[in-house]
């Protein structure tokens, strides 16, 4: 296992959502493999939803914020281990 990781960050102040809609299952879980450009979480700011995508393929290592938690611009949200 390589140890190189990167973090998905929020482009805007808003609310972090793990699912694409309320009641849906989370887009990713810890340990899940993601491909580059997979949607990994949503940010809602001012009623606008933005899908955040993985930059590179890898394994979700850590969720850094709770579902529905307010987040700041550039805040780190999800840690992904490249590979």
């Amino acid at each position: 296992m390589g140890s190189k990781t990167y973090k998905v960050t929020s482009p805007v102040m808003g609310t972090f959502y793990r699912a694409s809609a309320p009641g849906e299952k989370p887009l990713v879980e810890v340990g899940q493999k993601v491909n580059a450009s997979d949607v990994v979480c949503m940010i809602e700011s001012m009623k606008i939803f933005t899908e955040l995508r993985a930059d590179q393929a890898g394994i979700v290592k850590k969720l850094l914020v709770e579902d529905e938690e307010p987040v700041m611009k550039n805040q780190e949200l999800i840690e992904i281990e490249i590979g």
């Binding site: 805007v12 102040m13 694409s20 309320p22 700011s45 001012m46 009623k47 899908e51």
Partner: protein, 449 residues
């Protein structure tokens, strides 16, 4: 009856607008607010205020129980829902009536009929009113969406059944895009309106968005207050509105107005409402939807007709007969509105919450600013990006454009990004100045980057 006290079930500029109407009518006001809105202008301006919960809308401004509790606790006579939030929620209108509160708007049954766009389509088709081909009902599965789309032909547009204001709308040019759009649009619709239902229709290219403001009383009397041209839109969010429309002549105005009233009558509509139409270049028009509430852009109609729409809403809801006659309504001069949003036009209109600094609002002849912001006001990311409306009136369109250019140049706003630079650009655009616009107007800029 005459109202003594009214609760405003909303926030932002529209809450302030409603409080202003009430003050002029001698009605006491109760504001409601979430935890992050403690210092909001509507809270300061109202006679009383009640905290209705946490920042997230569904825990506060969409929380029917908390709002009804606030209303009954403060012994108000009536509730004004504003726009957005619970304004087109039939359950909320019913909850008001069940608690002996006058709901400032159409009846719960009528909201249900108007807001349920699939049922409204059926009613209108039966009346022979021209509508855009699409799903007769809510889309129940992706397979059904693909079938209807193949039937009416791509491109197609997905719309939120409970919606309005462009939320939850997505266009798809092919099956693959439609599959993606279905998931995202449903999520947006649920978050914004608590209702994930979508319907689908054929997407008419290069149309104008023209809407008719109506008023109706409880006795079946209606008038229409002319049209509003709302073709300058981004992602189905209106950004600039005007009245009259540079495209609408007396013949088309009468046809649209009479159709709007027929639609209203067919669903027993009362109070202020807006009937939205798409109008193609040959002046064929298609009815789109009823907005069963006061609209963001109502001021442009107020400025050309001299009629205070919010005060009319209150009078009509308390059971008064419509005193305005159709043949007395004149569209005098020209009015234009720019929506000032906390969004960055240089970065794809990315939301831009933050603290307002160095604010100077435009003023002077023919300028009206409806806003809730002030210096050091913190715009939170929890609500709509609309932070104000800059509205001008002048004798004709050309002078209104000059006046808007002047007012925009006076506007100072720092600390956040706003749509002011965007509006300055539109108001210099040759096609816009000529009135040569459609709902795709902004796409040519997107292409230029």
């Amino acid at each position: 009856m005459t109202l003594d006290k009214l609760l405003i079930a909303n926030r932002g500029e529209i809450a302030v607008r409603i409080i202003r109407a009430c003050k002029e009518m001698g009605i006491k006001t109760v504001a409601v607010f979430s935890d992050v809105d403690v210092d909001a202008l509507h809270v300061k301006y109202a006679d009383e205020a009640v905290n209705i919960g946490p920042a997230l809308s569904r825990k506060s401004y969409l929380n029917i129980d908390s709002i009804i509790q606030a209303a009954t606790g403060k012994k108000v006579d009536a509730v004004h829902p504003g726009y957005g939030f619970l304004s087109e929620n039939a359950d909320f209108a019913k909850a008001c009536v069940d608690n002996n509160l006058i709901f400032i708007g159409p009846s719960a049954e009528c909201i249900a009929a108007a807001g349920n766009k699939s049922a409204a389509r059926k009613t209108l088709m039966a009346l022979g009113i021209s509508i855009i081909p699409g799903s007769d009902d809510i889309i129940s599965s992706p397979e059904e969406a693909f079938e209807v789309a193949a039937d009416v032909g791509y491109p197609v547009i997905l719309k939120a059944s409970g919606g309005g204001g462009g939320r939850g709308m997505r266009i798809a040019h092919d099956k693959e895009e439609l599959a993606d759009a279905l998931a995202v649009a449903s999520g947006e619709a649920r978050a914004a309106f608590g209702n994930p239902d979508l319907y689908l229709e054929k997407y008419i290219e290069r149309p104008r968005h023209i809407e008719i403001q109506i008023l109706g009383d409880h006795f079946g009397n209606y008038v229409y207050l002319g049209e509003r041209e709302c073709s300058i839109q981004l992602r189905y969010q209106k950004l600039i509105e005007e009245s009259p429309s540079p495209f609408v002549d007396d013949v088309l105005r009468n046809k649209l107005g009479e159709t709007a009233i027929r639609v209203a009558r067919s669903i027993g509509y009362s109070n202020a409402g807006t009937m939205e139409f798409l109008v193609d270049k040959n002046k064929n028009f298609y009815f789109m939807e009823v907005n069963a509430r006061v609209q963001v852009e109502h001021p442009v109609t107020e400025l050309v007709t001299g009629i205070d729409i919010v005060q009319q809403q209150i009078l009509l809801a308390q059971g008064e007969k419509l005193t305005i006659k159709q043949d007395e309504i004149r569209l005098n001069g020209w009015s234009m509105e720019c929506r000032i949003n906390a969004a960055d036009p240089a970065n794809n209109f990315m939301p831009s919450p933050g603290e307002i600094k160095n604010l100077i609002l435009p003023a002077g002849p023919g300028v009206r600013v409806d806003t809730h912001i002030f210096n050091h006001y913190e715009i939170s990311p929890f609500y709509d990006s609309l932070i104000g409306k800059l509205v001008v009136w002048a004798e004709n369109r050309q002078m209104a454009i000059k006046r808007m250019q002047r007012a925009l140049s006076e506007f100072r706003l720092e600390g956040i990004k706003s749509t002011i630079p965007f509006h300055q650009r539109v108001f210099q655009d040759e096609d816009f100045i000529k009135g040569d616009i459609d709902t795709h107007f902004l796409e040519k800029w997107a292409d230029q980057g």
